[in-house]
Symmetry: C2
Subunit: 216 residues, 2 copies
DNA sequence: CCCATAGTCGTCGTATACGATTTCGTACTT
DNA sequence: AAGTACGAAATCGTATACGACGACTATGGG
């Protein structure tokens, strides 16, 4: 069996369900139920849940149980801020290692996003957004930083409806900033500049979100 | 029992032993042995080990077991680089929230470090160094970032003999940079400057380490 | 004398079982 | 009628038990 241990299977299964939205935030994760559903006993499921807790995807209370981590606006802010920092760093570290082919791929994705702007589909747009950024930071040579970036994205993925669903006006600016980022990388700009640009790109989304929730 | 669950006890116990050096890197963590030692069964110990794995303090291989995470030079580099980024950010975010009393406390610690320079005691110096930086970043309002900083420090703590034991010449420069950092914070310098200074402070230690290992 | 292979031992992985704790429903009291 | 106290059901936490996998070792063949 290539899937590995039961524990690993449970981890992947539950994680997938959270990220794809089958388990919505606040959903009560009952060990016995999940175990029966997956055809394993509770022990591997417990391990899986604890791993997910360490990643911040679920919260866990002693003698109470686990629930899918919520999207408390404060938590959202913290997660975005953290991601802006680590993703900025990851992008800057990746930049020198990105070959022209990858840049072209990213640009193609961004153009697709631009096309999306009119007949707007938040889900699709968010997916393309992730694809775009993946190209930029996946070459990061430091696996720890890369892992932190992935964790941040995963946490945000819990928001099924996507950030851009909440802040529609942000999409257009985002596409422009993507193009700027690509130009910076192509021109071999120095590390600081790229890092700052990548960080600001994310902060801008956060600010847009904050501006909207304040007026609401 | 205020200590909480057996799982939590096991987690704290094993973590403490790793950090204080009772379990040295590469040490084989046998579940049954630890369980018997702590007077619990293997199940809570398993959970504890998995949590420590998520924090990077131990490595785990299927059907093989857990060992205390090593200090592979490459890993050291990655950890220091990651820490330079998150600690820099944490320090910058903390800076506006640090009151004069805290600054004075940090300065006192730094003077103690300066005194240490002559009759040099690496262990003590490293401990003071941690105290100093704690004052600077503990006010960070973003708990995620703060957590990442703590994890980084914990990983480095596995190196019992301390960084400054490996790179003696670095100590004096470090003390000077500390004073500069304090002045920046006191003068209310802008966030970018503080972040850059804090990051460079750590990078300098890393560079010193690299320079030494290359010549060796 | 060295290498291969089979057997044994140690350790991990998971299932099952039982005690502990919480939560919810119900009945009783004020 | 509302609040409280008691009890039962559900769920978690841990122990124990057994099967599975990997690593050591000893023995036989080259």
């Amino acid at each position: 069996m290539v899937a590995g241990s039961k524990s690993e299977q449970a981890y992947q299964a539950v994680k997938a369900r959270i990220i794809e939205g089958a388990y919505t935030p606040g959903y009560r994760l009952v060990l016995g139920a999940i175990a029966k559903d997956l055809g394993v006993s509770v022990v591997p499921v417990r391990e899986a849940i604890r791993r997910l807790e360490a990643e911040g995807l679920v919260t866990f209370e002693r003698n109470i149980g686990a629930t899918v981590a919520g999207i408390d606006p404060t938590e959202y802010l913290y997660t975005m801020q953290t991601l802006s920092i680590v993703e900025g760093a990851a992008t800057a570290l990746s930049a020198p290692l990105i070959d022209p082919a990858a840049i072209a791929r990213a640009r193609a994705v961004n153009e697709e996003m631009r096309d999306c702007l009119d007949h707007f589909d938040p889900i699709r747009f968010t997916r393309l957004n992730q694809d775009f950024h993946s190209v930029l930071f996946e070459h990061c040579p430091n696996p720890h930083i890369l892992d932190l970036v992935h964790r941040g994205w995963n946490r945000l993925a819990s928001l099924r409806s996507s950030t851009f669903g909440f802040v529609p006006g942000r999409a257009r600016g985002s596409v422009e900033e993507h193009e700027n980022l690509l130009r910076l990388i192509e021109s071999g700009a120095d590390s600081d500049q790229i890092e700052k640009a990548a960080r600001l790109h994310r902060s801008a989304t956060l600010d847009a979100y904050l501006a909207q929730t304040e007026t609401a």
